[in-house]
Structure formats: structure tokens, C-alpha cells
């Protein structure tokens, strides 16, 4: 009896505690003026936000070389991830990347703004988490669930095609490549390909010397480079005579903008690679 009463009082206390906690949660008002200052949160916010909810996106969101939603971005005010400019926009929620300038994020927090930071997606699982988290923050859980369903559906369709097992190497300006633990690696795996860099034991984004690329002889080379209208030495590795000799037939220009940030549109890159591998098999 005694035990039951204690348990009961605990239950009551717990319910009361929850009730006490609930109002603060429910009182968290739906954000009405959101500013995003990172190209990846920009795109997820544009996909998820309801009409009029999102006020501003970063300048990069309007750059078709970095953003898959450059056209959509034109509907929003532009920010350059500077504290002063964002302060004047009077947002009630700020979305930032963990790689956004630390000083800016710190300053905005000191000024009393609510800043939510997002780590860059390193896998489709991360993409799913980021979509759900933004959905919860924006009180748009249903829309987020829709996007997650789109993503899972696409991944299931990719898996339906048997993995070709062809090898691929990502080759970026400055000879950078992506190994294990990167979104690019997850895209390659989803497309049924084997990433040469992962096989070589590369983790994260790092340099793959041209010599090693030549020795590894990948079936496909994913060129990831944008035209900025002005030259830089960083992109000379992509016109090096040795690289050109190697990549004469098997280089694919990857849709860079769709691969920088993780979102349902990122699957397009995987579908494109799956097609390319299938074409090569038929050859």
C-alpha cells in the first residue's frame, strides 16, 4: 500500500513535472523570421520552410556553382554571414553551419539571438537527421517527413539495381579526393560503385597525388570542378597532360552543386553515376 502510494505520488510528480515542462516547449513559438547563413542550411530551409517563414539565405545559395537551388534563392533576402547585417534583419532563429565563422556565431549569441548550428552531412543518415531537426525547429515536421520519405525512396530505387562494383575516384582541384566518412563516398556506395580512395585507406577529404591516381586505374573518374570564369593553379591538375591521358574516356563531370550539401537532390548524382557505370559495362 505504502509502496503503491509512493509510486503514485512519483507518477503524479512526474506528470506535474511534465506539465510544468510542457508549457515552455509549447510556448516555443513557431519561428517567423529565419535567417540562414550557410549554403547547406540555406537549401534545407528553402525546402522545408512554410510560406513567409524564411527571411534570408546566404549569398552562396544564389551561386549555381555551389547551390542546387540558386533560382529559388532569388526569392529571399541575401546575407553574407556577417553579424551586423544579420542583427539588422532581426531574425527569431538563425541557422548556421559548424564551419561558419566562429566569431560571427559567438557574437550573434552574445547579442541574444537563437543560433542553431548544423554539422555538414557526411552520409545520407546525416542528411535524414538534418532534415528532421530543421523540421522540428521550424515546426514543419510533416514537410520534413515528406522529404525523408523522398530520400529513402530514392535510396531504395538505387539499391534495386545490383551494385556494379566498378571503381571510381573523385578528383577535385588541388588533387583533392574524398575517402571514407564523406558524403561523396556515401553517394558512390549508394550508386553501387567502389571508391578507390576508400580502398586506399583514405579517410575524409585529402590529396590524392596524380601518380597514385594513375597507378590505381579507376574505371571512372568523377571530375568535381566548377568554372569560375577566372583561372587558378588549383585547377591545373585537371588539365595536366598525364591526367588528360588517363581520363580521356572515363571522366564524368559531377554535378558539384548537388554534392556539396546533402538533400534529396543529392541522389541525382548517385543516379547519374549508376547510369554511367551501366553504360561503361555495356561498352
Amino acid at each position: 500500500m505504502m509502496i503503491l502510494r509512493t509510486a503514485l505520488s512519483c507518477f503524479v510528480a512526474a506528470v506535474l513535472g511534465m506539465a510544468a515542462a510542457l508549457p515552455t516547449f509549447a510556448a516555443e513559438p513557431t519561428p517567423r523570421r529565419i535567417v540562414s547563413m550557410n549554403v547547406c542550411t540555406d537549401q534545407l530551409a528553402m525546402l522545408i520552410a512554410g510560406a513567409g517563414q524564411l527571411h534570408s539565405v546566404s549569398a552562396l545559395a544564389g551561386d549555381p556553382r555551389a547551390s542546387a537551388m540558386a533560382d529559388e534563392a532569388r526569392a529571399f533576402a541575401v546575407n553574407h554571414a556577417l553579424a551586423e547585417e544579420i542583427f539588422l534583419m532581426e531574425p527569431d532563429l538563425i541557422l548556421a553551419g559548424t564551419f561558419s565563422a566562429r566569431a560571427t556565431v559567438g557574437l550573434l549569441r552574445r547579442l541574444g539571438f537563437r543560433v542553431e548550428e548544423f554539422a555538414p552531412a557526411r552520409s545520407f543518415a546525416d542528411v535524414r537527421d538534418n532534415i528532421r531537426r530543421i523540421g522540428a525547429l521550424l515546426h514543419r515536421q510533416e514537410r520534413a517527413a515528406e522529404l525523408v520519405a523522398q530520400l529513402d525512396d530514392g535510396l531504395a530505387r538505387l539499391r534495386a539495381g545490383a551494385p556494379s562494383g566498378r571503381t571510381i575516384a573523385l578528383y577535385e582541384p588541388n588533387s583533392y579526393t574524398a575517402g571514407a566518412g564523406t558524403l561523396a563516398n556515401d553517394i558512390f556506395t549508394a550508386a553501387g560503385l567502389v571508391n578507390i580512395a576508400e580502398r586506399l585507406g583514405v579517410t575524409g577529404s585529402t590529396r590524392l597525388p596524380l601518380e597514385q591516381l594513375i597507378m590505381a586505374k579507376p574505371d571512372l573518374i568523377g571530375r568535381s570542378s566548377s568554372d569560375y570564369g577566372a583561372p587558378a593553379l588549383a585547377q591545373e591538375n585537371l588539365v595536366h597532360p598525364a591526367f588528360r591521358a588517363l581520363s580521356r574516356q572515363d571522366a564524368i563531370d559531377l554535378p558539384v552543386a548537388k554534392m556539396i550539401c546533402g538533400a534529396p537532390f543529392t541522389l541525382d548524382a548517385a543516379f547519374m553515376l549508376q547510369d554511367a557505370a551501366a553504360k561503361q559495362e555495356r561498352r
Partner: protein, 333 residues
Amino acid sequence: MSADRHYPLLLTLLAAATLALFLLSLTVGPAGIAFADSMKALFSDKADGVALIMREIRLPRAILGGMIGATLGLSGAALQGYLRNPLAEPGLLGISASASLGAVLAIYTGLSAAFALALPLAALTGAVAAVLVVQALAGQRGGALIVILAGIAVTSFAGAMTSLALNLSPNPFAALEIMFWMLGSLTDRSMVHVWLSAPFMLVGWLMLGSLGRALDALTLGSETAASMGIELRKVQFLAVFGTAASVGAATAVAGAIGFVGLVVPHILRPLVGARPSRLLPASALGGACVVLTADILVRIIAPERDLKLGVLTAIVGAPFFLWLVFRTRRSLL
């Protein structure tokens, strides 16, 4: 004099060391190809991966390492003789930095893509401007202090303008390339770079190499040299344009590599009996050895990090420079 007897021996040794380092440079790389295979691939007419690596990646790198080193060693020796200043060197006088600026302007404006020769020519122009400015500031009797101060001014100005040009480029990668232009690198240079820079370097070497007798005479003072039939204007022309052509072309393809032109002539000078005419070829070979060694080391120490050549030459060169300043401070003060 022992230096007389030892001179041919010294040159032979330096030449042998240069050749050995050149071959070693061909065998170092991330692909890990056996020595015999790599040499075979270099001369076979097969077109497999190994041959591609040897002919298109390692061979241009080794050739450029040797040629750029020779350029820096030779121009350092020639400038020290011509300016009669122990601290003269392309890097310290701002010649490398100004050549970098010229090259940067040619590359990032797209001029060199439209007209390939624009790259070495722009670097040469930058280099000529630097020599003339330093010389004008220092005057004919300029002491070591004035020459170095003028060099510092030119170096920092050219460095700032290079940085500005790179920052203004719409290409986001350009801003990161300031490192390359200030510290130099031979990573993934191709045969295109060899063909572009080698003719200018060769012409520069011929001009600087022909200065031997004049530099010997200049050790006795410019009046005495003039009385011995040395045409000072011609000497100036050869020294300025020889340095500009060779250092300009070297910098245009590999960035500014510091201290080689300072250290090498100083180390070799006592070994050649302090005669500028003998120092020139010895310094060229010594410079080639130093840059080839530095380029081998950047690939061994941290192959995945793309270390810059100037980092290694400065680790050796900067303490040496301090020691040199310490030793010559009486004449500086």
C-alpha cells in the same frame, strides 16, 4: 694555389652530385615504382601508367628542379659579384617577389591562357622592374644596408600586390595560392612548364655566364674595371636582363624560392678561391643540387601535405642569413 688545382675536381664533384640528385628525384614519388622499372619506363615507348608517371610527372619536375636551382645559384653569384654586396640575392632584392607579381597578373587575368608566352614575359618584366628600382634606390655606391632596405621595400610591395590580385580573383581557389607564389613548389608541374620556361632560363644563363671576366675585374673597383676595358653599361645590361630572364622564368612556373641564391655562392666562394668567374658555374651546379634536394625532401617528409619548397630552403637559409648579418654587421653599421 690549392683552389686552382681543386677547381676542376670541385666542378666534377658538383656535376656528379647534380646528376645523382636528378636521378634520385626521378625515383621519388607516391606511386612507389622500383628504380629499374622507372628507368625502363622512361626510355620505352609503351604508354602504360608507369611510363605516363615517369615522362609526364617526374621528368618535368626533375628538369625544372635542376634548372631553377641552377638559375637561383647562378643569379645569386652574379648579383653578389655585380653589386659587390654579400647579401645580394634574387629573393632578398625583391626580384623573385616582383616576378611572382608579374606571373600572377598574367595567369589570373587569363592573359596567359590566351597567349602562353605572356607568363614568362610578364614575370620577366616584373623582375626587370625590381632590379631597376633597387639599383636606382641604392645608386652605384649604395652600401649593403641601402640595397637590402630597398629590397625589403620592393619585396613587401610586390607581395602585397600579389595578395591583392589573388584576393580580387572571382575564383575562390586563387586566394589560397598566395602560398605557392611566396614559397614555391614543383608539385605536378608538366612538360608544358618546361617548354615555356627553359628557353628564357637558358638565355639568362648565357648572359650571366658571359659576365665572368667583368666580375673578376669589378672586384678591383668600378674605375679600375673601366680602365681595364670593361664596359660597365654592357655589364649592367647583362646582369639585369640575365637575372630577370632566368629568375623571371623560374618564378613564373615554380613561385618564389628563397635563400638558394644567397647560401650557395657563400658556401662555394672559399672553395673556388674567391674568383667570381669561377664561382658562376660552381654556384649554378650547387644551386641545382640544393633545389633538387629540397624537392626530394618535400616528397619524403610529408608526401601528402604538399609542402612548399621555400619552407625547406628557408629552414636552412634563414639561420645562415642571420649568421651572415651578424658577421657583416660591422660594415652595415
